[in-house]
């Protein structure tokens, strides 16, 4: 049993950061939101719809509005980058092949990749593979984006690029984003809400709330450095939007 008495609400249009130690159930929770796993008891609702008991095609309808980035990318290894990223478009839209190719090119460009369309996943580096997987997750412009360790294996430049992209998607399209990450700095900068999974339950709040929390679990997980970082971040946010660039140097 991973969760016991877990109750958490993810608000529409916000970036949520799932925190917790290894084996605390972060990926399991993401899979439950995506309907890939069902809880033994209790319920998961996405956009008000109860996922338990739904048939696969009914779940499919809900999943059309969800993009998911898996930890290892989960790209189809027999298909090229173009085919992988274009697959949801080919399946669920009436776009022509040239239109799909153009859209794929745009999305790949937004994650910092050029001219990789003919390559197979095995020909990509780890970082490129994750970015292609990210491109596939957002190509349909979903309303909800689930990201399992989106920054893992990326160099600082690409961490910053993906962070900017996630923030932009959230701000411009109102995407609800759920991120699990060990890359604390990026995750904390983006997060509107933090959910710390501990002992099968969760402690949720804004970064500022968690920074001020006296809960032993929060203090234990974030540590003094994390809390100091949060406090500093809080200060910078108060100063206004112009402070974003300087946060990189925190």
């Amino acid at each position: 049993m991973v969760f016991k008495g877990l109750e958490c609400h993810l608000r529409k249009g916000e970036i949520h950061l799932l925190l917790g130690g290894s084996g605390s159930g972060k990926s399991t929770l993401l899979r439950m939101i995506g309907g890939l796993q069902q809880p033994d008891s209790g319920e998961v609702r996405v956009a008000g719809r109860l996922l338990s008991g739904l048939r696969e095609h009914e779940l499919g309808e809900i999943r059309k509005g969800i993009g998911m980035l898996f930890q290892n990318g989960a790209l189809l290894d027999s298909m090229s980058v173009l085919e992988n990223v274009g697959l949801p478009l080919r399946e669920h839209t009436k776009l022509t092949k040239p239109e799909i190719a153009e859209r794929v090119k745009q999305v790949l460009h937004s994650v910092g990749l050029e001219d990789v369309e003919p390559l197979l996943p095995r020909e990509l580096s780890g970082g490129m593979l994750r970015r292609v997987a990210f491109a596939r997750a957002i190509v349909m412009e979903p309303q909800i984006l689930l990201c399992d360790e989106p920054f893992s294996g990326l160099d600082p430049l690409n961490v910053s690029r993906i962070e900017d992209l996630l923030t932009r998607l959230n701000e411009e399209l109102g995407l609800t984003i759920v991120v699990t990450s060990h890359h604390m700095a990026s995750s904390l900068r983006m997060a509107d809400q933090m959910i710390l999974l501990r002992d099968g339950a969760c402690i949720a709040g804004t970064p500022e709330e968690l920074a001020a929390s006296d809960d032993e679990g929060v203090i234990g997980f974030l540590g003094e450095d994390g809390r100091a970082f949060l406090a500093l971040l809080h200060e910078m946010r108060d100063r206004g939007p112009g402070s974003a660039a300087s946060e990189d140097r925190v």
């Binding site: 899979r31 995506g34 309907g35 890939l36 696969e56 095609h57 779940l59 499919g60 309808e61 999943r63 059309k64 969800i66 993009g67 998911m68 898996f70 930890q71 290892n72 989960a74 790209l75 189809l76 290894d77 697959l87 949801p88 399946e91 669920h92 596939r136």
Partner: protein
């Protein structure tokens, strides 16, 4: 004693539940077959993998089996002064039994195991979950084209196996042992009937292909998502499909003559 009965009961329940899951999966494949899109491109690719890439193995094995059959049967028939019957015996044994069964077992080892390993590996790397999250049914996208390809490829490979085996037996019986070629071919032609023998052969290979397609894709889909699970599923496909082919061979043979 109670423990033994309980254990037998648990095993029987597990077996029935397992058969139910296979039947359910088979139903999903049939439904997928009827649903658009047709996945024609994937089907052709799977047909190439299962069929075309098995051609060399089937031809070589068929020719070798035919050579052995020619040698053994010629020696045995000579004892009874019935060597003219070589063509008839080779033809009947190959068309009715050896062709579909040996081709079925060879395709199981080469293509069936490969399909299970491929799907199992897709499962362990979350590719199947990735498809689900894109609202794409993995049975429709992955299993259906492969199962269909095996069903179509099997009768074709069976035919190829029989042709090469007949040629192998001809090579030994006629070219090496000195039997008249006309006698061999006329014996073959008069003994093998299209409706009864070739029909039975085609039916058997079609059923074997269908069963192998179902077993190979089911094992891949249901394996535990790790290296050991994929290895176990691959082995299980070969063992299960081989036993099922041999059992269903008997059932079809018995029912055909009823």
């Amino acid at each position: 004693m109670i423990g033994l009965i309980r254990s037998l009961g648990a095993q029987a329940t597990a077996l029935i539940a397992g058969l139910g899951r296979v039947a359910n999966f088979g139903g999903s494949i049939v439904i997928a077959l009827l649903k658009p899109p047709t996945r024609f491109g994937f089907f052709i690719r799977a047909l190439y993998d299962a069929g075309v890439l098995s051609v060399a193995l089937i031809c070589l094995s068929g020719f070798t089996v035919g050579m052995v059959l020619g040698l053994q049967l010629y020696t045995t028939l000579t004892r009874f002064g019935a060597e003219e019957g070589l063509g008839a015996v080779v033809g009947l044994s190959l068309v009715r039994e050896l062709g579909p069964v040996v081709a079925g077992l060879l395709v199981t080892g080469r293509a069936g195991s490969a399909i299970t390993a491929e799907i199992g590996s897709m499962k362990s790397t979350e590719q199947l979950d990735g498809l689900r999250m894109m609202a794409i049914d993995p049975v429709h996208f992955v299993a259906m084209p492969r199962a269909l390809a095996l069903t179509i490829a099997m009768p074709l490979l069976n035919g190829l196996f029989i042709v090469f085996a007949i040629a192998g037996a001809y090579g030994i019986g006629v070219s090496v042992q000195g039997l008249d070629g006309g006698v061999y071919l006329s014996g073959l032609e008069s003994a093998v009937r299209f409706g009864d023998d070739v029909g039975q052969s085609l039916l058997k290979s079609l059923v074997f292909g269908l069963l192998l397609g179902l077993i190979a894709t089911y094992k891949g889909h249901s394996c535990s998502p790790d290296a050991q699970g994929v290895a176990r599923a691959t082995t299980s496909t070969v063992v299960t499909a081989s036993v099922v082919i041999l059992l269903s061979d008997y059932v079809i043979t018995a029912l055909w003559d009823v």
